[in-house]
Symmetry: C2
Subunit: 345 residues, 2 copies
């Protein structure tokens, strides 16, 4: 009999509420013969205040033993900006080599978008997750003086770029439209831009059936609001990916339904799945958060572990639920219940 | 009697056509007693192919003598990506210390936006123009091998950040809503983020009547499409400014009407005014380009040189023209003629 051994990290703010719904739907969708084990971890602001820790070596060792990680959200105004982000979230992405940061954008029927004319949006962004300006390289001299100089170093390696570009080509090839866009800023960031463009063009030769294009990141933001239907698969660097996936989420139904996976394709370390949204402390504990993004992240988790049928069933359930939702306001719990009922139906 | 001595750089593609209309409107709006002198320069792809030059020392010396520079667009597919951008445009921004890159976004009545519900958009972005990831710092080792490493270094100085932050506060204070948002990514780019946030908060104390907020760049892209009316003045770094101003242009009527100024506030070197759009080689020479962005850049140029009445007259003319334009298709020339008639009326 199969088993699924998950690390569950509810985290801060609405993280608790949405993860509970994610687990509810997961239990409902899993076949009877799959043994689900979950272990909850208390990372986040509370633990940080109590112990000063964000993620210890022992924590990392414990997390390594799981098949995958489900994360709600980390972050609280009581903790200085960046401490939990870098000390927990980015630390884990780097330690577990989550180099494929997968973020699908699909505007589902009946879902509101800020764009006029309800365009057809259905693309995925493959964001590099372990390099670029996210490496923490750089420094400060003469801090706090009128002569302070602060640098940030974007580090890009052929190894790191090629593996994520290759992953994106394979994903593009598996989709009906077979289109892949590289987004960068190679006219200004010439060193990194050359590396990305060169590798992209080289790998493209191995995927002759994939149609490619290159686009500067600034131009990409225009197309994301004027012609989002043109995108199929996008591959891009860590920072550009961060920026355009928030925009992509906004135009395709909002961060209430935007899922993401921090994937280690080799399986050497567990992959981590999380909604794109943050901990939203302003609405925490009120049952107002939409758990759909977390539930869709559970679908990505299932697909990653080979449960394709169950992943698709969750996605269909969310799609049907959103189409019927209309202007009804339901609580976090009610949405979770409705989706659990649909997937087990 | 007053005089106005302009360097005119039509550049590539539609640059020629739109600059001609900019000059037409400029001549029409200037008071009789102002002597307008213009000198045209041939920078761009043609010169590059003929001589291999993008901008020589002698060119720079010649440009220095002007009161301001009007630029159409530089760039052509026949020139490798980045050569003209870095060899001409960025070189000039850096040499002439254009540290205030000013980009207003205003959705004028009757103008189409990709956003539903026709929101009220009226903000300006003050983009830093001489630092950040644009400095060309960085490098490549083992180029072309599987062990290539490419870096890009974002350089940020207290001097450079403080002057642009101060400029933005002054602009915010002069506007009715008096709001200023700092956009950065200080939870990840901690070195540069700390410098920017720290200086922003320090300068804020001198402007107690300005309401401030901080926003991560990824979140800013969401707000730009869901609540663009919340913005009044934005200050941000060179790269984030590049990205969000294209998005800002897209939501507030498109790059056909997006103007910009590369400003040296001290006046030590001439400032340069240009539409946000590029050379659009696909429609060049067909009279299809909208010259409004260039004409609005002429307004920014006039305001910078103290011709406030004339600047406002151009802006009112463009506004009235857009409101009446409807779905009529007019040529580049016809739009220029209509605006010239309005401003001289
Ligand atoms: C919280 C932050 C560090 C993170 C990022 O920048 O990657 C978030 O914005 C995201 O997109 O997952
Ligand atoms: C052409 C390019 C170098 C330039 C930039 O990145 O600044 C352009 O995108 C702009 O915004 O003026």
């Amino acid at each position: 009999s199969r088993s699924l051994n998950l690390a569950v990290i509810p985290g801060d703010g609405i993280g608790q509420e949405v993860v509970a719904q994610g687990l509810k739907v997961l239990s409902a969708v899993l076949p009877q013969d799959v043994k689900l084990e979950t272990k909850e971890y208390d990372f986040g602001a509370k633990r940080y205040h109590a112990t000063g820790e964000t993620l210890t070596d022992a924590d990392v060792d414990a997390l390594k033993k799981h098949d995958a990680i489900l994360l709600g959200a980390i972050g609280d105004p009581s903790v200085p900006s960046g401490v939990l982000e870098r000390g927990f979230l980015l630390k884990l992405r780097f330690l577990f080599d989550h180099h494929v940061n997968l973020r699908p954008s699909k505007l589902l029927p009946g879902v509101a978008t800020p764009l006029a004319g309800q365009p057809e949006i259905d693309f995925i962004v493959v964001r590099e997750g372990t390099e670029g300006p996210y490496t923490g390289n750089g420094g400060t001299i003469r801090k706090g003086t009128p002569h302070e100089v602060a640098t940030e170093v974007s580090v890009n390696t052929a190894f790191g770029v090629e593996r994520v570009v290759r992953d994106a080509f394979a994903r593009a090839q598996a989709r009906p439209r077979k289109k892949l866009a590289l987004i960068h800023k190679n006219n200004v960031l010439a060193f990194a831009g050359h590396l990305w463009t060169n590798i992209f063009n080289k790998v493209a030769e191995e995927f002759p059936d994939v149609t490619t294009e290159y686009m500067h990141v600034d131009a990409a933001t225009i197309y994301l609001v004027t012609q989002p239907e043109r995108f199929d698969v996008i591959v891009t660097d860590n920072l550009f990916g961060d920026i355009i996936t928030d925009l992509a989420a906004a135009v395709s139904g909002g961060i209430g339904v935007a899922a993401s996976g921090n994937i280690n394709p080799s399986g050497e370390f567990p992959s981590m799945f999380e909604p794109v949204h943050g901990s939203a402390p302003d609405i925490a504990g009120q049952g107002k958060a939409d758990p759909s993004a977390t539930i869709l992240s559970v679908a990505l988790l299932l697909r990653h572990l080979g449960f394709e049928t169950q992943a698709a069933r969750i996605e269909d359930a969310v799609s049907a639920d959103l189409a019927e939702r209309g202007t009804t306001t339901r609580t976090t719990d009610e949405i979770g219940d409705a989706l659990a009922a649909r997937v087990s139906g």
